[in-house]
């Protein structure tokens, strides 16, 4: 057995909490209120929050809550309480491929802020395309949370002056 597989002498390497404990700390109302600047319509907010906090595995729901809450708190402290200026890319739902062309309203009520990609890879539109694809692909509880976090980060970046 390699040393990486040895158990720590004082207990298991990873204690797994019950699912109820993992999600007991989730306060959807509090997070919803904090995200209102990015999702002003109540019905949209409830839909998006259900997807990131109520759907999918418990550890994802809990993680989404922790990270979004921290970003929202930071945004509140820095006064970043509005969608960042700049273009937004449409963020489309994952739908059955055989029906995609028949659905005319398929965008999530939150878009992808293009400005964040220029921070990571300045002046590289191909990289921006690839990064958009990474953020928006996969199960909705991941992709929607990714885009929400990108929104909060874009708003935060807009508040923080660039340093030489």
């Amino acid at each position: 057995m390699s040393k990486h597989h040895k158990h720590h002498p004082h207990g298991p390497p990873h204690k797994r909490h019950a699912s109820s404990a993992v999600t007991a700390f989730i306060d959807a109302d509090a997070l919803g209120e904090a995200l209102t600047p990015w999702l002003p319509a109540a019905a949209d907010r409830e839909f998006v929050l259900r997807c990131v906090l109520d759907e999918g595995p418990a550890h994802h729901r809990g993680s989404n809550y922790v990270l979004l809450s921290l970003l929202a708190k930071l945004a509140q402290r820095l006064g970043a309480q509005a969608v960042a200026p700049g273009p937004q890319r449409t963020f489309e739902m994952r739908l059955p491929p055989h029906l995609e062309d028949e659905i005319d309203e398929r965008a999530w009520p939150v878009g992808v802020p293009e400005g964040v990609f220029d921070v990571v890879a300045p002046g590289d539109p191909r990289a921006a395309e690839a990064m958009t694809d990474c953020l928006t692909d996969g199960p909705p509880q991941h992709a929607v949370a990714n885009v929400l976090m990108a929104q909060l980060l874009a708003s935060l970046l807009a508040q923080v002056p660039e340093r030489p």
Binding site: F47, L99, I103, E105, R106, Q141
Partner: protein, 211 residues
């Protein structure tokens, strides 16, 4: 009027396949009560209630003095800003009321295969409403779309629904529709084994409305 109690099951099955189990049960109990009073209602319930739990529940409610409530307003209030709505299952009284209450919502109906009826005839009574199957109902998906089904009794943790609902609100679909609405036509769960129906967790509905 003479009532052949034994043949009512077959008649009910045909009626329920095109009107819905709850709709047909209320119509049957009214006719049976008119023909033979509460004694005949009890006799028919005793003969056919176990085969048709929705009939059993409706007849019990009728004997307790309850009469059908068809008020679409609470459901319509949940749907007021929707663009599209898919109704899983068909209960003619309630569906007619919902269609009238939502003139600006594109409606689809996904009939149940549990009691298959003449869908062409059923849909001819619902002008402007599209029939969809499990292969195409997601054409109605979107951020201003909802799925609704009729619930045949609910407890604190469970609700009883048609089998198609189990697929229609599957994990892939839950992020494609904004709301998952249950319209509870029977109050409490059936007293007999709920054949034709599936027990699902109550919390899979974003809204559960009592009729």
């Amino acid at each position: 009027m003479t009532v052949d109690v034994a043949s009512i099951g077959q008649s009910f099955r045909v009626a329920a396949s095109e009107l819905g189990m709850c709709d047909a049960a209320w119509r049957f109990v009214a006719e049976i009560d008119a023909a033979g009073g509460p004694a005949l209602v009890r006799e028919v319930r005793d003969a056919h209630g176990r085969a048709f739990p929705v009939l059993d529940a409706v007849f019990a409610r009728h004997l307790a003095g309850v009469r059908p409530a068809v008020d679409a307003a609470p459901v319509a209030a949940l749907c007021h800003d929707l663009k599209r709505l898919v109704v899983v299952g068909l209960e003619a009284w309630w569906l007619d009321a919902l269609v009238a209450a939502l003139p600006n919502v594109e409606l689809g109906v996904l009939p149940s295969g549990a009691l298959p009826g003449d869908t062409a005839r059923m849909m001819s009574n619902l002008p402007g409403v599209t029939q969809v199957g499990l292969d195409r109902f997601q054409r109605f998906a979107g951020p201003r779309s909802a799925l609704l089904t009729f619930v045949y009794g609910a407890s604190g943790s469970s609700a009883f629904v048609l089998p198609e609902w189990v697929r229609a609100q599957g994990p892939d679909v839950r992020a494609q529709f904004r709301s998952f609405i249950g319209w509870n036509l029977l109050g409490a769960p059936a007293e007999v084994y709920p054949r034709w129906l599936i027990e699902v967790p109550r919390d899979q509905f974003t809204d559960l409305v009592d009729a």
